[in-house]
């Protein structure tokens, strides 16, 4: 028998249910009318995970992330069954980071305590804004007060690693109201803060009715972004990724796997995986997922499937590493790809370095805050694609 390896792995579990769909959200989630689907769905997830018993034997997952949707919309019994199922399906590392998303007013102290005891050790709470008008434009069903209660009870339930999600670029938002939201979040002293710039996605109610709202313009959003970076820095939160800020040592290890091109397995409809050099995802349909898992016809639930050859990996590496404030380390780049990053991309980078969008010093290349906020523009200029839409070297 071969020596058992302990390769690192991230586990993502998607819970595509919500109590109410937010007006900006285009992720796969819905509000089920028949709640019996919860049990069937958790059954399918657990059965799906068990099928990785052989392949997964060499892995020791060190991060777990239950996201959504709103995981806490599941009845506590089902959610607990899911948490325990994850633990029994994989050999989780001792110091596993076990995150779960939660919306205010969907879980009370009792439930939170049970989830904590079952093994969840990091909570991510969606606050978005403290301004009632902004929350209502987003179609959020909670208030800032609800968040306060949720946060306090999470602490009481033993969560010592909590993230707060915030949004900017919301209709009617001003720099002042954004500052108030930031101040409120920081006053609760979470370990981690994420701030997402609202993006209008076609097909969402907010996008379809966009003309009915007044959005902050590009310059105002840029001002909000740079304000937040400075404000959070002063409050002890270091930016480590375009949208993520954390106290020292509290960076989200699971999300870092995405940016570090490490392996992760996703479970549930619309979940994405990067495993054994393949990126794949499952079709966004709960019923199809349940049917395929039950009928052992897993091929029919695969949505995207793409093997990632070396040239593709190089492009991904640049695209993903540049999201991080640490940027690209020339020595590591050389070790991984046998190429000198500065030599290969120097001529293209020069104008961005001169323009103050990229800093190139000490053997590393990284975006300035201004560069991060236009990173798509710069990356789409630097990176090359072949005719099939793959990264070209």
């Amino acid at each position: 028998m071969a020596q058992r390896q302990n390769k690192r792995l991230g586990i993502y579990v998607h819970v595509p249910f919500c109590r109410h769909k937010c007006s900006y959200c285009d992720f796969y989630s819905y509000c089920p009318r028949d709640t019996r689907v919860y049990t069937a769905y958790v059954d399918a997830l657990l059965s799906h995970m068990k099928s990785y018993k052989t392949v997964g034997a060499d892995y020791m997952p060190d991060t777990v992330y239950i996201g959504g949707g709103t995981p806490t919309v599941l009845p506590p019994e089902e959610l607990l069954r899911l948490i325990r199922g994850i633990k029994s399906s994989f050999r989780l590392s001792k110091n596993v980071e076990f995150s779960m998303e939660c919306n205010p007013a969907t879980a009370g102290y009792e439930e939170l305590r049970r989830y904590r005891r079952a093994g969840v050790n990091r909570l991510s709470i969606g606050l978005q804004s403290v301004n009632a008008i902004e929350l209502s434009a987003l179609g959020r069903i909670h208030s800032a007060r609800d968040f306060g209660v949720c946060f306090r009870e999470a602490r009481r339930a033993g969560f010592d690693n909590i993230n707060v999600d915030l949004m900017f670029g919301i209709p009617y938002q001003t720099l002042d109201s954004w500052a108030a939201t930031l101040k409120f979040a920081v006053s609760r002293s979470p370990e981690h803060i994420s701030l997402y710039d609202l993006k209008l996605e076609p097909g969402t109610p907010l996008c379809d009715n966009a003309s009915a709202y007044v959005f902050p313009d590009e310059d105002a959003e840029y001002a909000m972004y740079t304000f937040a970076i400075e404000f959070l820095e002063r409050a002890g939160y270091r930016q480590y990724e375009i949208s993520n800020f954390a106290r020292q040592g509290k960076e989200c290890r699971h999300n870092l796997k995405y940016w570090h091109c490490e392996e992760y397995l996703g479970f549930g409809p619309s979940a994405h995986s990067y495993f054994t050099d393949v990126r794949f995802s499952f079709k966004p349909s709960v019923s199809n997922y349940i049917k395929c898992i039950g009928g052992r016809t897993k091929d029919e639930m695969t949505d995207e499937y793409e093997e990632i050859p070396m040239r593709e990996r190089l492009g991904e590496y640049i695209m993903l590493r540049m999201r991080l404030t640490e940027g690209i380390d020339s020595r590591e780049f050389m070790r991984t790809f046998g190429k000198d990053f500065g030599m290969t991309y120097g001529s293209k980078l020069k104008k961005y370095i001169d323009g103050g969008y990229i800093v190139g010093s000490g053997g590393s290349y990284r975006f300035t805050p201004a560069g991060m906020f236009v990173s798509n523009y710069i990356l789409s200029d630097i990176l090359e694609f072949d005719a099939d839409g793959h990264f070209a070297m």
Partner: protein
Amino acid sequence: MTERQKKIRNFSIIAHIDHGKSTLADRLIEATHSVESREMEDQILDDMDLERERGITIKARAVRLAYKAADGEEYTLNLIDTPGHVDFNYEVSRSLCACEGALLVVDATQGIEAQTLANAYLAVDADLELVPVVNKIDLPSADVGRVREEIEDVIGIPAEGCPAVSAKTGQNIGDVLDAIVNDIPAPKGDENAPLSCLIFDSYYNSYLGVVVYVRVMDGTLRAGERIKMMSNGMEFDVVEVGYMHPLGLRRTDFIAAGDVGYITASIKNVSDTKIGDTVTHAEGGAESPLPGFKEALPMVFAGIYPADGAKYNDLRDALEKLRLNDAALSFAPETSVALGFGFRCGFLGLLHMEVIEERLEREFNLDLITTAPSVIYEVDLRGGERVRVDNPSNYPPPDEIERAYEPMVSASIITPTDYIGGIMELCTDRRGIFHDMKYIDTQRVELHYTLPLNEIIYDFFDALKSRSRGYASLDYEPAGYVESKLCKLDFLLNGDIVDALTFIVHEDKAYGRARKIALRLKDNIPRQLFEIPIQAAVGSRIIARETVKALRKDVLAKCYGGDITRKKKLLEKQKEGKKKMRKLGTVEVSPEAFMAVLRLDDES
């Protein structure tokens, strides 16, 4: 007059656009059983797709119809279809010279329009017998009596009892055929005199070479004989002569005085067979050509560039193919700093330009960038030399100019009286000189103006239509050059002149045009990493200024649940868009944005 000639009627149909000319032609073909009904298509004479779609006739066509009249005799009716647009007035006049009569089609709901009048005058000038035909009597708002009166009052020809038809339903079409036989004179001409044939159309066919459509005025022509084009002296051996059946060419032994027919003679270029030219025998031919020949001169010029620079050769091939059939199209290579390699093309007018652009895009599958249309300016230089400028960016600097001249047109506008105010205001705004206003009836007037051509080609049609709710109609003809205070208006992006955006404008119009274009540039240039100043300049004087603010935000904040593929696709799409961008100096602009800046279709 020979017995043969007595049975021939040569006629054309003239009408304002949309008054039903092509539909009437279809009905005449049908009523004479010249084409089996199963072979019949709508607008059978308009065989370019573009013509069918737009319901206009771009090139003149001709067909021969056989009609057995009430007197029991069989007549040969030669119908020469004419283009119904002001750009092609010269072609219309030559077609009319090939006929003895014309059907003047007037819409029973609309009455006389600008082109009805312009074409009627052309027909009267050509000594044609005019047969009025009131069309669209099937429409509820038809007023046959009023329109007949209008024809009598305005054009001065009897119209009482003239055919009143519905070309759509075929109602009373027989009346038209009888009127053609009874009212239009048979052709004259001596079959034994020296040959003279009037060219009224020609087109290139890849098997036959150029097919020349002619009206034989005098003499007889047979296959094998040697002919000469009188304008340029070029000689050819005739391969075939014949007539035009609605479904194709039919060869005959000869064509003779009074006939409308075709000649093929292994001719390679349509430009050797100029419309209006006279064909005669190389030996013993006519002494002098038929009167009225003119070279078709382009009036409107624009730069045409491939959106993808690599397609330059494709564009050249396509233009060469189009020129085979269109002697009025001219083109010469030119280079623009902004747009790369392309062609300066000359057109008869705006419609001609649009037609060529559309054919290039459709038939040759090319994406084009076209600069704003311009006219030819004439400039007296200080040194005494006179130059002609067809590309605004070649306009000489002010200190070298002694005098500048711009082409004028004499325009006739017919409009319902309700819109007179708005239209007069428009014409004044476009530097028009008012001549007179005539009442056509109590509700409509005809206005006469002299207008600079460069004002007409700058969204004048659309402005006219929008000020008259589509009711006003326009016709114009060249009216020479006049001295004018012109200036060259340049646009600078980030400090660099964009040559493709240079306009020549009248001094009084420079500010307005500068502000309008600068604003459009601002609205259409995507934000880039640096701020882009837009300036409009006359010489070194900046007269308008806008700024495209720097790009601040272009980021995907969230990569949810490790969906890396989505981000990759987004970047790829963005990259693709970037590749299509044209560099205007240091500024990247998409072809769509460039065209949006130059679009002439609004008055804002």
